[in-house]
């Protein structure tokens, strides 16, 4: 099983490799260990995982920079569904995937994965707009406020998309090709000019 411990172990392994520079002969197989943590068990069935790949690729396509697939976003989102999501969240997220495919069947009589890139984009743009409308306030419900904003009309889709974007923009390609990121910036420069090459700094809260 791919547990949270595996994720931790992976990061610790990465750290160990960084610190050591090169693997040191220590009597255990570094390679076997690396292989074990690099190929975790998936949560989603092969069909749903393929659908997640297709959705991720549409949300963040390959352009002049890496897209979601090159940034391993589907694997990350699958691991989040398994290790981060609560059981109700897990259901919500898998249902969001199922609904995307259902919509594809309704509109094109084909599965989402078999659509052309343009068709996929068109379908997800529609779903995205509808999903992010505010949900109607139930009778007797409170008016939304800044601390308790309106719920989205389709919170499952909204969360799935958020996790895809979050996983992309926290990935190494997302942060180093698409945005900019320095782990240790060194100096604080309070004012630098903006040029056509300037990209927002990623990895921050806002």
């Amino acid at each position: 099983m791919h547990s949270t411990f595996d994720l931790h172990r992976r990061t610790f392994l990465n750290r160990a490799l960084v610190l050591l520079g090169t693997p040191v002969a220590t009597g255990f197989s570094f390679e076997a260990l690396a292989k074990a943590v690099a190929a975790p068990t998936r949560y989603l069935s092969p069909g749903l995982f393929a659908l997640l790949e297709s959705v991720s690729d549409t949300v963040v396509p390959q352009t002049d920079t890496a897209g979601a697939l090159a940034a391993n976003v589907p694997k990350t989102v699958d691991a989040l569904i398994q290790n981060w999501a609560s059981s109700s969240r897990r259901y919500e997220l898998t249902q969001a995937l199922v609904k995307i495919d259902r919509k594809s069947q309704e509109q094109y009589s084909r599965s989402f994965t078999s659509l052309s890139a343009d068709e996929r984009l068109k379908l997800l743009v529609e779903l995205d707009k509808a999903a992010h409308m505010p949900a109607p306030i139930p009778p007797g419900g409170r008016k939304p406020t800044i601390t308790e904003p309106a719920k989205y009309a389709d919170p499952g889709f909204a969360k799935l998309k958020e996790l895809i974007l979050q996983s992309y923009y926290l990935s190494e390609p997302g942060l180093t090709q698409e945005l900019t990121y320095e782990h240790a910036p060194g100096e604080w420069k309070p004012s630098i000019p903006v040029t056509p090459q300037t990209r927002p700094t990623g990895g921050t809260l806002f």
Partner: protein, 561 residues
Amino acid sequence: MFDAIVIGSGMSGGIAAKELCERGLKTLVIERGRKLEHGASYTDWMQPWDLPNNGMVPEETLDKDYMVQRLNYNMNTATQQYWVKDSENPYTTPEDKPFVWLRGYHLGGRSIMWGRQSYRLSDIDFEANAKDGHGVDWPIRYADIAPWYSHVEKFIGVAGDRDGLPQLPDGEYLPAFALNDGELMFKAAVEKNFPGRKVISGRTANLSKAAPQQEELGRNTCQNRSFCDRGCSYGAYHSSLSSSLPAAERTGNLTIVTDAIVDSIVYDPKTGRATGVRVIDAHSKAGATYEAKVIFSCASSIGTTQILLNSTSEAFPSGLANRSDMVGRNLIDHLFGLGVFGMMPNAPDTYYHGRRPTGLYIPRFRNVTEPADFLRGYGYQGAALRLGARSLQQGGGGLGAEMKVRNRKLGPWIIQVGGFGEMLPNPNNRVTLDRTKTDGWGIPVVHIDCAHGENERKMAKQIIKDGEAMIKAAGGMVMGAIPDPLPPGQGIHEMGTARMGKDPKTSVLNKYNQAHDVPNLFITDGAAMASSGCQNPSLTYMALSARAAHHATEFLKTGQL
């Protein structure tokens, strides 16, 4: 037998231990949590893509183990190890009065996760209780503590400007982290439109440029990473692990025990002195007693209260050093979590480099240069920043190649200012022991009954009004306001439950942080505070700790203890 025992290794315990050790006292620090190693235990090396679960703590783990700690602003998978499991560390509150007790049990305590904002109190604060009659008069004034503020600032390293403000006395500073262009525009507009209000660089305990006394301890200049809350392997912010405990250790006088939960302090009625500290091993639950000539309680305000109330004897049936009945009363936190944010379309199209460990600060002006319909006042912490990709992705931000292109562009300047307001001392805001419930170590759990009052509600309204007016004055568009403070506790500035005062009938500690009822017991954590000011309090705890350590040593030498 030690010369001194310090209960707790956090913000005040670290400094107390350093100061006692440097004065030649064989000192034992007792920490209830596990041992952490400076550097090795930290998670600051993790790249964003290394963070387990993208930094998000699993939802069911939050539900099961972190019902309270999850409310903390910096709970994520890189910092989770620093926050207690609520499931193992229970406390109770009345149903309608939530109190959010945010804690970390490990060597270094909350000095690892603190916000590092470091401000002196002024005589406006030390005189406040005497002037308006809330709480009891502080037994000290600014002049009593000023040299100790300097002493601590020089040691820990505080970056800031000398701004020449009576309500926020200047200290011994390393170079400030300069304001960015959005903040400079805001500053100019606020200072022009509201004479008496100032926008300054937030004074922070980060080494903008490490001084020799910090380098001696292996501490380095800040790298502007803003990973402070993960622990800093550069030692670039002051914590017990990076700074005060290593300084104590090099004297050869320090002993540390971890995983030792203090049950109570032992009192000898014959001598009228505390003789030692009873502990329970966190794992084996075996009991032990450590003895010393002087005891410093630095277990945090509520932690110290729990220990005192649990230290009952014939001489102190309602808890040690509690003849005044003030132990546990007057619990204070800062009004927190309310503020205003807006967009600044007129700010210059520039950017900044680095993630500086502080922001802007607006020192108190209500009841200083401007009147108010409430007592005391508030300051603001905030920042101007260019909205980044993460915010632009929220909501229906589109998708596909077009979305990628849009997220490459710098967002608009936004500004946010959040109020930190002074809560009045109120004896009914109280920590007691719930004798019907015990924790996993057989110690009665605390019951916290605390709420904001009318003065705080009036203040909260004005915080929002003033915040909105300042953003508008800078040509900003107010985008939203959070008008209600979070429940008390969430400011993580709990204090006041063993207050200093002149009269043993109405206070627990004298002007040396020495218990009126037990001369060899000193309390130098937040519990000692007779009022809170609106400034972040850790610097004051540290200054009081150093000052008390000095006096305790003198009293010991002259046989007064």
